[in-house]
C-alpha cells in the first residue's frame, strides 16, 4: 500500500515538473514572439531608411542632373551668342544678300519690279560678299530687269564661277517662272551637267517631277531624258550596278507570274511526273499578259497634272536664296548644335540626336539608278507622280528588256523535252493485295500505242493475281483424304471394318461439303477481284487518254500566252518612246484663279 502511495507521489512530482517545463516553454515562445516583433520593427525601419536613402539619392541625382543641364544650357547660350556674333561679323553681308534676294523674288512674284528695287542691287553687293554665289546672281537678275546686258553677263559669269549648280538652278527657275522656257532649258542643261549622278539630292527629284509634268516644256523633257540615258550609261558601265537594276526589274516581272493551273489540268497534273515543270512554264508565260495590261494602262493613262508642282519648284527657289553658303556651313552647324542644346534644355544626348537627324535629312542623296528604278517601280515610295513614273520607266527600258529576255528564256527552258505519264495501282481484296509495278510511257508516242502498252502492262499484272486467287481443289482434298484413309485403316486393323467404312464415308461427306463451300467463296472473291481490276484498267486507260488531251490543251494555252512575248517586246519600244510625253508639243500652262 505504501508502495502505491509512494508511486502516486512520484507521479504527481513528475507531473508538476512537466507543468513547469510547459510554462517555461510558453514563456520562451512569448519571448521569441516579442523578439520576432522587434526584429520585424528593425527590418521595417531599415527598409524605411533604405527608401529614404534611395529618395535622397534620386533627389541628389536630380539635383546634379538639373545642375548639369543648367550648366549645359548656360554654356550653350553663351556659345550660341558668341557664334551668332561671329556669324554676324564674318557673314553679316551674306544675310543682307539673302534679304535682298527675298525682296527681289517677292517683286518678281507680284510682277512689279520697281526701279528702286533694282537700283539698290549694284555691283558692290558682289564685292561685299566676295565668295557668295547669290550676290552676283542677284546683280545679274537686277541688271536683266533694267536691260543692262553687259553687267548681267559679267555678274552671271562671276556667279557661275562661284557655284555653277546653284547659279544654273537659280536662273532655270527664274526664267521658267517668267515663261522663258527655251532659255530656262539652256540653264537646265548646265544645272544637269553640274550634278553628280552618284549623289543626287531631293531638288533633282522635284525638277524631274516638274519636267515630267511639262512645267519646263517639251524640249526640257527631251533634254532630261537624254541626260538620264547618259547617266544610266555612265553608271551602267559598272556591271554590278546594272545587274542590281536588272534584278529589280526581274522581281517586277515575277510579280505577274500566273497561279498554278493544276485545277485546269487534273489528270495531267496527277499522272505526269513532269507536271511541276509544265506548271511553272505556263505560270511564267502568263506574266506576259500581266505586263501588257499594266504597262499599256500606264501609257494610256492621261496623267493628272498636279496643281502644286509650281509651288514645289518655287520651294526650291526659296531654299536656294535662303540656304547658307558653303563657307558659312561649319559655323552654321555649330550654331545648330548649340540651338538644339538650348531647345532640349541642356540635354546633350537629345540635342545630338536631333542634330544628327537634321544633318542626315539635309545631306541624304541617292544615286541616279536608284532614283530611276524606284520612280519607275515604286513611285509612291519615292514621292513622284505617274508622269514621272512614265519618264522613269522609259529610261529603265533597257533593264526591263534584259530582265524580260532572261525571264522568258528561263521559263521556256523549263519545258521538259519528254512529257511522260506514270501509272501504278494498288488494291486490296480481302486478305490479298494487288500491287501493279509502275508503268511509264512517253506522250511522244501515239496515243493508241501508249494505250496498248498500258493495257498489256495491266494484263501482265492482273492475270497472275487472278490465278493466285483461284481455289486449289486438289490441294484442299489432300488432308481429308489422308485423315479419312488413315482412320479407315486403323478401324480395319482393330477388326471394325464396317464401322471404319461408315465413319470414313460420313466424315468424307461433311469435310467435302465444307471444302466445297470454301471453294465457292474463294472463286466468287476471285471473280469480283478480276472484275474490279478490269474496271481499274479501263479507268486508267481513260485517265491516260484524258491526260493526253490535257497535254494538247496545255500546249495550246502555253503557246497562246508565250506568243504575247512579241507584243511585250513591241510594247517596250512604245515605252521607250513614251518617255518623251504624250505628244511632242505637250507643255504645261499655269494660271491662278
Amino acid at each position: 500500500m505504501s508502495d502505491v502511495s509512494h508511486l502516486q507521489r512520484q507521479v504527481r512530482q513528475v507531473s508538476s515538473q512537466v507543468s513547469d517545463v510547459n510554462s517555461l516553454v510558453q514563456r520562451a515562445q512569448q519571448q521569441l514572439t516579442a523578439v520576432s516583433v522587434e526584429v520585424g520593427g528593425v527590418a521595417a525601419a531599415q527598409k524605411e531608411t533604405q527608401n529614404e536613402l534611395a529618395r535622397l539619392q534620386a533627389e541628389l541625382h536630380k539635383y546634379f542632373r538639373q545642375a548639369e543641364l543648367a550648366a549645359n544650357l548656360g554654356r550653350a547660350e553663351t556659345k550660341f551668342g558668341n557664334l551668332q556674333g561671329e556669324m554676324e561679323h564674318t557673314f553679316g553681308h551674306h544675310k543682307r544678300v539673302r534679304r535682298t534676294a527675298t525682296g527681289l523674288l517677292q517683286a518678281f512674284d507680284v510682277g512689279l519690279v520697281s526701279e528702286d528695287t533694282v537700283r539698290s542691287i549694284g555691283e558692290e553687293l558682289m564685292i561685299d560678299a566676295p565668295r557668295y554665289w547669290l550676290a552676283p546672281a542677284l546683280v545679274g537678275l537686277a541688271a536683266w530687269s533694267r536691260d543692262d546686258q553687259e553687267v548681267c553677263a559679267r555678274a552671271i559669269e562671276t556667279a557661275f564661277g562661284r557655284s555653277p549648280s546653284r547659279t544654273a538652278l537659280f536662273f532655270t527657275l527664274i526664267l521658267r517662272r517668267q515663261g522663258r522656257l527655251p532659255s530656262a532649258t539652256r540653264w537646265l542643261r548646265h544645272y544637269l551637267d553640274s550634278l553628280s549622278p552618284s549623289a543626287l539630292g531631293r531638288d533633282f527629284a522635284v525638277i524631274l517631277e516638274a519636267v515630267a509634268q511639262g512645267a519646263f516644256g517639251a524640249a526640257a523633257r527631251d533634254l532630261v531624258r537624254r541626260k538620264m540615258s547618259e547617266w544610266a550609261e555612265q553608271l551602267g558601265n559598272d556591271d554590278n550596278a546594272t545587274a542590281t537594276q536588272v534584278a529589280r526589274w526581274r522581281e517586277e516581272i515575277e510579280r505577274y507570274r500566273g497561279k498554278s493551273a493544276s485545277d485546269d489540268f487534273p489528270k495531267l497534273s496527277t499522272l505526269s511526273p513532269q507536271w511541276p515543270d509544265l506548271d511553272r512554264a505556263l505560270a511564267g508565260a502568263a506574266s506576259q499578259q500581266g505586263l501588257l495590261d499594266t504597262y499599256r494602262a500606264m501609257m494610256a493613262e492621261e496623267p493628272k497634272p498636279s496643281a502644286r508642282i509650281e509651288d514645289a519648284v518655287d520651294d526650291i527657289l526659296d531654299r536656294l536664296v535662303s540656304e547658307y553658303d558653303v563657307e558659312e556651313l561649319p559655323l552654321k552647324r555649330q550654331l545648330d548644335e548649340q540651338e538644339a542644346i538650348i531647345e532640349s534644355h541642356g540635354d546633350l544626348d537629345a540635342a545630338k540626336q536631333v542634330a544628327e537627324l537634321q544633318s542626315a535629312a539635309r545631306d541624304e542623296t541617292l544615286d541616279y539608278l536608284t532614283i530611276q528604278s524606284t520612280s519607275a517601280l515604286l513611285p509612291d515610295q519615292i514621292g513622284v507622280s505617274r508622269a514621272t513614273q512614265r519618264v522613269a520607266v522609259s529610261a529603265c527600258e533597257p533593264w526591263l528588256r534584259e530582265a524580260h529576255a532572261q525571264y522568258t528564256l528561263e521559263y521556256r527552258q523549263q519545258i521538259p523535252d519528254d512529257v511522260r505519264a506514270k501509272i501504278s495501282s494498288q488494291l486490296t481484296f480481302g486478305s490479298s493485295a494487288f500491287k501493279m509495278q509502275p508503268w511509264e510511257g512517253s506522250f511522244i508516242q501515239q496515243m493508241p500505242d501508249l494505250e496498248r502498252d498500258l493495257a498489256r502492262h495491266w494484263d501482265r499484272a492482273i492475270d497472275p493475281f487472278v490465278q493466285s486467287l483461284r481455289f486449289d481443289w486438289g490441294k484442299a482434298a489432300i488432308l481429308p483424304t489422308v485423315v479419312l484413309v488413315s482412320g479407315f485403316i486403323f478401324f480395319a486393323a482393330v477388326g471394325a471394318v464396317v464401322f471404319g467404312l461408315i465413319a470414313a464415308l460420313v466424315g468424307g461427306a461433311i469435310w467435302g461439303g465444307l471444302i466445297w463451300m470454301e471453294g465457292e467463296q474463294v472463286e466468287k472473291t476471285g471473280l469480283q477481284a478480276e472484275a474490279a481490276l478490269k474496271k481499274a484498267k479501263a479507268e486508267s486507260l481513260r485517265q491516260l487518254r484524258q491526260a493526253g488531251a490535257e497535254l494538247t490543251d496545255w500546249s495550246t494555252r502555253f503557246q497562246t500566252e508565250d506568243r504575247k512575248e512579241t507584243d511585250v517586246r513591241s510594247m517596250f519600244d512604245d515605252l521607250r518612246r513614251a518617255g518623251g510625253g504624250v505628244q511632242p508639243f505637250e507643255q504645261r500652262s499655269f494660271a491662278q484663279n
Binding site: 527675298t102 523674288l105 517677292q106 517683286a107 518678281f108 512674284d109 507680284v110 510682277g111 512689279l112 519690279v113 545679274g140 537678275l141 536683266w144 530687269s145 536691260d147 546686258q149 548681267c152 553677263a153 552671271i156 559669269e157 557661275f160 544654273a168 536662273f171 526664267l175 517662272r177 517668267q178 515663261g179 522663258r180 532659255s183 539652256r186 540653264w187 542643261r189 548646265h190 531631293r202 527629284a205 522635284v206 517631277e209 509650281e310 509651288d311 518655287d314 520651294d315 526659296d318 531654299r319 536664296v321 535662303s322 540656304e323 547658307y324 537627324l357 537634321q358 535629312a361 539635309r362 541624304e364 541617292l366 509612291d380 515610295q381 519615292i382 514621292g383 513622284v384 499655269f590 491662278q592
Partner: protein
C-alpha cells in the same frame, strides 16, 4: 504588318521630304509675269545670242 513596315508606310517619301532647314515660302506664290523685262534672256556663260538686224 510589323511596326517597321507601318513606320515605313507612314514615312514621307524621299522626294517630298523638305530639308530640316526649310523655310516658310518667301513669296505669296502669285506667279505673275514681270512686264517690261527685256526681250533677251540671261544666258549661261559661253553661250551667245546672235542678233541679225532687220534688212
Amino acid at each position: 504588318m510589323t511596326d517597321d513596315q507601318s513606320a515605313a508606310d507612314d514615312r514621307v517619301p524621299w522626294a517630298r521630304q523638305a530639308p530640316a532647314a526649310d523655310v516658310k515660302p518667301v513669296t505669296d506664290r502669285m506667279h505673275n509675269l514681270v512686264h517690261g523685262l527685256p526681250a533677251w534672256d540671261p544666258l549661261p556663260p559661253g553661250e551667245i545670242l546672235v542678233r541679225r538686224p532687220r534688212e
